[in-house]
Subunit: 437 residues, 2 copies
């Protein structure tokens, strides 16, 4: 054995090659945060939810405008992972604020809204794509059917992150409609993952069996049920024990580690990061340390969640909106039809639970934003070649339009319907919520 | 122009190749945080500062033991950057708790301690290396002198992060000695960067001029003076304005962005990330929103700072401690001598300011841990070939030993000297500080 080999230590991490890019990365992060808050403030001043400003901040800093946010390389990867931490923290916080009993109470309404909100847009997209004019490739035979299934699948998505932030920005998280929307969006996310598995299989050309789909469904929902069931039993005792430890910050660090663990386990079980983080929040909302955890997690989520929304905004390509060529104009027409179908399909889902009493238009509009979930679907279609560049562009425009149209629409609907007092009264206006910070 | 090119959007970040490793990364992070808190708790139970437990947690999870923390690849890079965010948040928090007037009051003592604490260990290391037996290469002529300069330089480092955490763990941040130590450690860090520039030049074989060294010195200290001077003038007005904004979390997000920006600017000006973060904290400690900012930054720092300490611990190679071969035993002997010189040189610096009254042993011991700064120096020596693998191993053992010996020594000294009430009385014991969390 060579003595040198015994003595050889691994290179210190901070001396790695990429280290010189850290100052640039920090400046990009600072720019993202400052732009998010300034445009969020501007959005609130013109009567819109702050998250709309954060999305616009992302568009402005993104590669099709100022080009400040890197979309590739080590810095791009790092911002992507920080954005994931942001959405994990956001859903964890939303879970902490969620009352499980209330979720069960509105459970059947949520389920009905989710199922109709998946089925209708899927059918709309499938049928439209089979008969619509298609620029670019994939216009005949089996390939057309595959592309149509893909477009339908993309229309089923709902971004629970965007919807929840809008509800939170508006101070409406405790309304009946918010509970139904969050529940339906979570169910929709789980369904979306199953659909994604199936659609990816179709795109890859592998056979899709009923048994395979059933297994994916069982795994995804099974994780949620087992995690919340087991967690609600174990977590109160675990956190009573942790609370007795005297080392500093022990509660908030364990709570954060708990959210990270459940997010990771959810993914490994075939569900999604954000479903695990949401489950972690719901579980910890039943502990005695709930208040301490929530008040300390809030500033952490407040710092990282905007990175997610700015990152979502930065993936928007402004060039798609430039009708310079006939082909681009054709794409814009298709995108417009898709957007209308996407909105009608989700809004109609608001009428899916006739036995319950709630503001149906509000719930339907709450399901409209496709956000990052829609982007993931569309991107798989593009990378596997199922969607041509033109088709991908049209789908992307639909995702963008639904994401940007929902926040102001929700705001307007909450304002109008709370004036007529159809349901629970709305909370006080936003700026009085600042003390919650 | 091809229509497809107009429509082509950049790939969404979350669909990048590395995405599948995110669950694993989250589990590693969770393991780091849980191990940090459990071993931190264990350290406190046996009467040691929590940071010692976090370092041990890193050793256990590191590549020479359990191998859970990746030291390379995308995950390794990501943990490295998160660790940097952790140390930025830590120094920002320490800066927020620092009273600039108090720093100026003890400034001459800090400067004297820093200068002697750099000069003595450098001289000790240089002279010893010229005459010591050396396993491996680099034993003759000019190469020996270069290596000796390098070893001397490595002995000059002080880890302000580790020392500050120990002082904070012990609830002693407001003592006279803590102020002198923090001031001296910051000056030492700035000096260290200048030395690093010079030594890197020597290692690369380039000529080192007095003008070059003076420029590096002026840039590094100049940044600190200009940033704090200008910042103290501008920041109060800026944050009064920000405080009037009504969007949620605006204060903590701007404060964090401010710390990131100054950390980046410090690096670009030839200083260090942590100096910039510390300066940002000092500047914001003079704003009217200081209390709100500090209480909201604290849980964020509480989550991320342990990632830094666990990361430092994970770069320790346990194999170095295995005296299996004669060469390894020879290295252990050299490492022991280096450690003694490293400790004596820094402890002696405690007597550097005879005009001031403070517990000199305490201040000297506070300067002992080399931590991450020493590791950076050692690694440059290894990569440039100035230090042989054996010499690198010996230097690394010295860095480890000084880092691990300081926390318990400081704790013991604070306990003993506060009993005899030589200086200000010590604060109440640690567990009563939990309400500070």
């Amino acid at each position: 054995m060579v003595p040198g080999a015994v003595l050889l230590a691994p290179p210190p991490l901070w001396a790695a090659e990429g280290a010189s890019s850290i100052p640039n990365l920090l400046l990009v992060l600072a720019a993202m945060l400052i732009a998010a808050k300034l445009l969020g403030e501007a959005a609130e001043r013109i009567g819109q939810p702050a998250v709309l400003g954060e999305l616009v901040a992302g568009v402005l800093l993104g590669s099709s405008a100022l080009g400040i946010i890197p979309s590739a390389g080590l810095s791009g990867e790092f911002i992507h992972i920080l954005a994931e931490l942001g959405v994990i923290l956001l859903l964890f916080e939303i879970g902490l604020e969620t009352d499980l009993k209330e979720m069960f109470r509105v459970g059947t309404s949520s389920l009905a809204v989710a199922l109709v909100g998946v089925a209708l847009p899927f059918a709309f997209g499938l049928v439209y794509w089979l008969f619509a004019p298609h620029p670019g490739a994939n216009t005949v035979g089996g390939e057309l059917v595959t592309a149509a299934i893909f477009v339908g699948a993309t229309l089923t998505a709902t971004s629970v992150g965007i919807t929840a932030r809008v509800l939170s920005d508006l101070g409406q998280m405790h309304t009946e409609e918010a509970k139904i929307i969050i529940g339906a969006a979570v169910i929709d996310d789980v369904l979306g993952l199953v659909i994604l598995t199936v659609v990816s299989g179709i795109a890859a050309g592998t056979a899709v069996s009923v048994a395979g789909v059933s297994t994916a469904l069982a795994l995804a929902f099974g994780f949620l049920v087992v995690a919340v069931g087991l967690g609600s039993f174990v977590a109160p005792k675990l956190f009573d024990f942790i609370d007795q430890l005297r080392v500093r910050h022990v509660l908030v660090v364990f709570a954060f580690a708990f959210a990270l663990t459940l997010a990771a386990l959810a993914t490994l079980a075939g569900s999604a990061l954000i479903i695990g983080a949401f489950a972690a929040g719901i579980i910890l909302s039943g502990t005695n340390q709930f208040d301490s955890i929530e008040s300390r997690i809030r500033p952490v989520a407040g710092i990282f969640a905007p990175i997610f929304f700015v990152s979502v905004g930065s993936s928007v390509n402004l060039n798609l909106l430039n009708p310079a060529t006939p082909e681009a104009r054709a794409t814009l027409v298709i995108a417009t039809v898709l957007t209308v179908l996407a909105i009608v399909g989700k809004v109609a889902a608001g009428w899916a639970a006739p036995w319950a009493k709630f503001r149906r238009g509000l719930v339907g509009v709450g399901m409209v934003p496709r956000g990052e979930v829609g982007l993931i679907f569309a991107d798989i279609g593009r990378r596997t070649g199922v969607l041509s560049q033109e088709s991908f562009g049209a789908v992307l425009l639909m995702v963008m339009a639904t994401t940007f149209v929902a926040p102001p629409a929700l705001k307007a609907l909450f304002k109008r319907t709370s004036d007529t007092a159809e349901s629970k009264p709305a909370k006080p206006p936003i700026h009085e919520h600042k003390d919650l910070e």
